[in-house]
């Protein structure tokens, strides 16, 4: 994977003392936070509609590019990020409206939904490759790579920011889902979409909210990923990690998605640091297989309802 080489720069090995361990935990948590965000964006849709949104990665990529080009065109960084989030929302909702919703209305199998998602991802990603070139671009006008010293522990500035923003975003989302009326509607739909419809919950409205949230988290994740590594057309493949995190945590379970994301982030950081950054992703896939073998439901399986 392309990102692995960049990650390797952060770890030069040698000193494996306590401070390095702490530094790696922080890095792992920050990567894990971004994965957790992505995984929640994916799991939310899965929990409500029972299908995998495989078009998720390209929303992340498009948002990152919006930030990139708008900042290059002279926007402030904050403005660029705001635009990226706006486009992430619009694009995510657009996909829902033109592709997923009409298909769900026809009650198609989830296989068709997966193929549709992959189709969107293929079309968008390869359009970007053809028009923009496949090369890697550094995130403009932001220097976040320099470390912050905390005592004798050096931690990447980007890691701290990513960790804080992910936690805050996850916190806001949790409050939204637990304490607000639309949040309750989403949770009810996640329990049983058909019954939710009967209970007077507008499933179409729920779907819009869910895809808006998914667009926001995709954009935030895309920006952080771009800042930490680079921006490039195939960066959407990182969403595979979100899927894996989701399966590890328990498909369709939001808390599980967060836990899965953080476990994955920590695992990858430690593998990069102590074993080899080349094989970092291999360990993620290995963990996926182990989980499927020994805990097929994931760490926190979504409780099955009587859907026969």
């Amino acid at each position: 994977m392309a990102c692995s080489c960049v990650a390797a720069h952060l770890f030069h090995g040698g000193d494996f003392g306590m401070s390095v361990v702490i530094q790696q935990i922080v890095t792992g948590l920050s990567i894990g936070g971004v994965y957790a965000l992505l995984a929640v964006g994916y799991a939310l849709i899965y929990s409500v509609f029972d299908f995998s949104n495989f078009a998720f990665g390209c929303v992340m990529m498009v948002s990152a590019f919006v930030a990139y080009y708008s900042i290059l065109a002279g926007c402030s960084v904050a403005m660029g990020i705001a635009l990226a989030i706006a486009v992430g929302i619009l694009f995510s909702v657009f996909i829902e409206l033109i592709a997923y919703r009409p298909l769900r209305k026809k009650n198609t199998s989830r296989l068709f939904l997966m193929i549709t998602g992959i189709g969107i991802d293929m079309a968008v990603t390869n359009t970007a490759v053809n028009l923009l070139g496949a090369n890697y671009r550094p995130f403009p006008n932001v220097s976040v790579t320099e470390p912050i010293m905390m005592g004798n522990i050096a931690v990447g500035k980007i890691d701290i920011i990513a960790l804080i923003v992910s936690l805050v975003a996850l916190g806001i989302l949790w409050v939204f889902l637990e304490k607000t009326k639309p949040g309750l509607a989403i949770r009810a739909s996640a329990y049983d979409t058909s019954t939710a419809g009967i209970m007077g919950i507008n499933v179409n409205q729920v779907s819009i909210i869910v895809f808006v949230i998914s667009g926001v988290v995709a954009a935030i994740a895309g920006i952080f990923f771009g800042m930490k590594y680079a921006i490039y057309p195939s960066m959407g493949t990182v969403s595979t990690k979100a899927f894996i995190a989701s399966v590890i945590g328990g498909l369709g379970n939001l808390e599980g998605a967060v836990i899965g994301g953080i476990i994955l982030g920590l695992l990858e950081t430690f593998v990069s640091g102590y074993i080899s950054s080349t094989y970092r992703d291999l360990f993620s896939y290995g963990l996926l297989i182990l989980v499927l073998l020994f805990m097929p439901g994931g760490l926190l399986a979504k409780s099955k309802s009587d859907k026969l």
């Binding site: 309802s305 009587d306 026969l308």
Partner: protein, 259 residues
């Protein structure tokens, strides 16, 4: 070893905080037709789902032919001689009626994968024989002329019949019918009653029937269990159940909400 073909003891299932079925003791003797009735949401289909292994019970035991089947995979339970139909029809929609039966008859191929790839003489012979048997099952439910029709395009009533034929093709000892008369008019109900009786007598299959059409249940059942809110409300012969006050109350209370 009990003398019941099917027996549940303290069968209980909870989904989240909701108890769908609670402490159900349910017994079916070989050769009986047993009715399982109750207002909507009483947990009848859930009982079928637990018996067929689709949903694991939270508590309790299920015995089929004297051996426990909780935790046994649905396909293994089926192969022990238990089959069912579904309330919301679950046919193999996009293929022909005949193929629906053929698939079921061939669920255990009877030849190896290599033989399948080479399509040996044995495979072809088995195929021919299976085709013949498939027609017999269609004949039994009066669907022979629809053999080549796509299952999903058949009228509702015929789809229900095809589901019964498919269930019979597994050669069950016990057949669970989940609202076989749903959406049928009186005339169709009458012919369904004939069909079920025919199956019961000719094939000697024990039947458990979930049904809202009172005519059908009362007409067919030797014994009726009434469920309400997941609990057993009453049980006995059709006449006793019909005059049971608890049952009348449960149905009247629900009457307006029922369609």
């Amino acid at each position: 070893m009990s003398d019941f073909l099917l027996e549940t003891k303290n069968l209980t299932v909870r989904f989240g905080g909701l108890t769908a079925v609670e402490g159900l003791d349910f017994q079916v003797k070989k050769g009986q037709i047993v009715g399982l009735i109750g207002p909507n949401g009483a947990g009848k289909t859930t009982v079928f789902n637990m018996i067929t292994g689709v949903i694991p019970p939270t508590e309790g035991e299920i015995f089929f032919k004297g051996s426990g089947i909780v935790g046994v995979r649905p396909d293994r339970i089926a192969r022990r001689g238990l089959s069912r139909t579904f309330q919301n029809i679950r046919l193999f929609e996009k293929i022909s009626a005949l193929e629906n039966i053929v698939i079921t008859l061939q669920r255990e191929p009877g030849y190896s994968l290599v033989e399948a790839f080479l399509r040996t003489k044995k495979v072809r012979e088995i195929d021919t024989e299976i085709q013949k048997r498939a027609y017999d099952y269609l004949e039994l439910v009066g669907l022979r002329e629809y053999a080549d029709s796509v299952a999903g395009s058949l009228p509702y009533g015929l789809q229900r019949r095809l589901e019964i034929a498919r269930a019979l093709a597994t050669e069950p000892e016990l057949l669970l019918l989940d609202e076989p008369a749903a959406g049928m008019n009186n005339e169709e109900c009458d012919s369904l009653i004939d069909l079920i009786r025919n199956i019961h007598e000719k094939k000697g299959i024990t039947i458990v029937l979930i049904e809202h059409h009172t005519d059908v249940v009362v007409n067919l059942s030797d014994e009726i269990y009434v469920l309400n809110l997941g609990k057993l409300l009453a049980h006995g012969d059709p006449h006793a159940v019909q005059t049971n006050e608890d049952v009348i109350r449960a149905y009247l209370g629900q009457g307006r909400k029922n369609k």
